[in-house]
């Protein structure tokens, strides 16, 4: 049977859509991992970026798989069931998501025209008002760029969680490879690819919508590796 035929058969099997190993639950798991990790990263990174940006670069040499593995060796015995997949996954994803947010938030605030801040001060704004009403709106394109880069990386990298036996869309790919099930593997790849591109485009759209019309969104400095 040709690949197209196999794919059609695979796709016409309801269990592959909504069964416990089907595409829908995997997509939900993937979104839960990604969303949760991104949220933690934002909660950690945004205040740091805002603080150093208001008062005052990074490469990523560490391969995510290595990071996953290293966290695994530390947490596996420490908290048995969750330490095996959930904690390493979330730690790795959060660690991946923090740098772009901090860097871009910081860079965005640094690039705010000092005269705009002077003007704000002259109008009698307090520090927090200045941050909220002048600096953040002017730095928003850059802050959102950081968020977009992080979100795309997290969605892409959550795929690797399956290596540790966690769920998510990577499960379809890893199981597909292991069982030589080309259709499953192919659909896993399609869904992850689409999800990553949708995240990229979604955040780009948000960026256009959220940025004050007086400012052109700067072109992404978003060349960070997908995992």
């Amino acid at each position: 049977m040709t690949f197209i035929g196999e794919l059609a058969t695979w796709l016409s099997t309801p269990a592959n859509w909504v069964g416990s190993d089907g595409m829908l639950p995997r997509l939900v798991e993937h979104l839960a991992f990604s969303g949760g990790s991104l949220l933690i990263a934002v909660l950690v990174a945004l205040p740091i970026g805002l603080a150093i940006g208001h008062t005052g670069r990074g490469g990523r040499a560490l391969p995510t798989l290595g990071l996953l593995g290293i966290v695994l060796t530390i947490t596996a015995n420490w908290w048995p069931p969750l330490g095996f997949f959930l904690i390493p996954t979330i730690v790795a994803l959060v660690a991946l998501a923090i740098p772009p947010i901090v860097t871009n938030t910081y860079a965005g605030l640094r690039e705010v025209d000092p005269e705009a801040i002077e003007a704000g001060r002259g109008m009698g704004m307090r520090e927090l008002e200045l941050l909220r009403q002048v600096e953040i709106p002017l730095a928003l394109p850059s802050i959102l760029t950081g968020l977009r880069v992080s979100a795309v990386q997290v969605v892409a990298t959550a795929t690797l969680a399956a290596v540790l036996g966690a769920g998510g869309l990577g499960r379809l790919i890893i199981d597909g490879i292991a069982q030589q099930d080309d259709p499953e593997l192919f659909m896993g790849a399609v869904l992850v690819g689409l999800l990553a591109i949708a995240t990229e485009l979604g955040f780009a759209w948000l960026q256009r919508r959220a940025v004050s019309p007086g400012m052109r969104p700067e072109r992404a400095s978003g060349t960070e590796p997908a995992a």
């Binding site: 798989l65 290595g66 540790l164 490879i177 399609v190 992850v192 590796p225």
Partner: protein
């Protein structure tokens, strides 16, 4: 991980130096193949499309979006065609370097000030001389920046190819380490791939300094 198992067993490392060395060399070979092939293709492609504004904008936009596709997904797309092979790994790895390198070569060439080009044309430079003696030297920092990102990214992505039976140091991390419940291999594989990425990054930075001596003298003069 087995209880009581240390993070690193020095005796395993010493006894398996040949295995580790072999994986390290494999890692370097896979990275070099992808970056060199990617650079040659990107360089040629950038020279062809650079004068066409629309094509340039389209390529920069599309490569940015394709870059979002996870590596494992890209490998997975190729498996039905090229199987679990070195070729599958290299096609995916090279594609990622293309996305980074075409963009940076184009941006580098675009960053050449028009006055400089005009001055060179006024002095009678042919287009070929203009490219090799004026535009490319000025574009070197952005091109090398692209090569650095591409190389560091590829060193990281090569580890992922362990999932399709290749992998270099990734084999130690995934197969020997994670699948074999053996922390030592995870640490050795991870630390060596970090070291490799850092060494490659500094190596390229040093090369850039050698290629653009004028930038250095300007820096020390300032």
């Amino acid at each position: 991980m087995p209880p009581g198992e240390p993070f690193i067993r020095p005796d395993w490392v010493v006894n398996n130096l040949d295995v580790i060395w072999q994986r390290l060399i494999e890692h370097v070979e896979m990275t070099l193949t992808a970056v060199v092939v990617g650079f040659v293709i990107s360089f040629a492609a950038a020279l062809i499309i650079r004068r066409r504004r629309r094509a340039t904008a389209a390529v920069i936009g599309v490569t940015g979006i394709l870059y979002a596709i996870p590596s494992l997904a890209l490998f997975a797309f190729l498996i039905p065609v090229t199987g679990l092979s070195f070729l599958t790994a290299e096609i995916a790895l090279t594609s990622y370097t293309l996305l980074i390198l075409i963009r940076n070569v184009l941006l580098g060439l675009e960053a050449v000030p028009p006055d400089v080009v005009e001055a060179a044309v006024g002095m009678g430079y042919t287009p070929r001389q203009l490219l090799w003696r004026v535009e490319l030297p000025i574009a070197v920092p952005l091109i090398v920046a692209g090569l650095r990102i591409a190389t560091v990214t590829t060193v990281g992505l090569v580890t992922v190819t362990a999932l399709i039976g290749q992998g270099g140091l990734g084999y130690l991390i995934v197969v020997t380490g994670i699948n074999g419940f053996f922390p030592t291999a995870i640490w050795v594989g991870s630390l060596l791939s970090i070291a490799l990425a850092v060494v490659a990054d500094f190596g390229l930075l040093w090369t850039q300094g050698r290629l653009t001596p004028w930038a250095q003298s300007r820096r020390s003069a300032a």
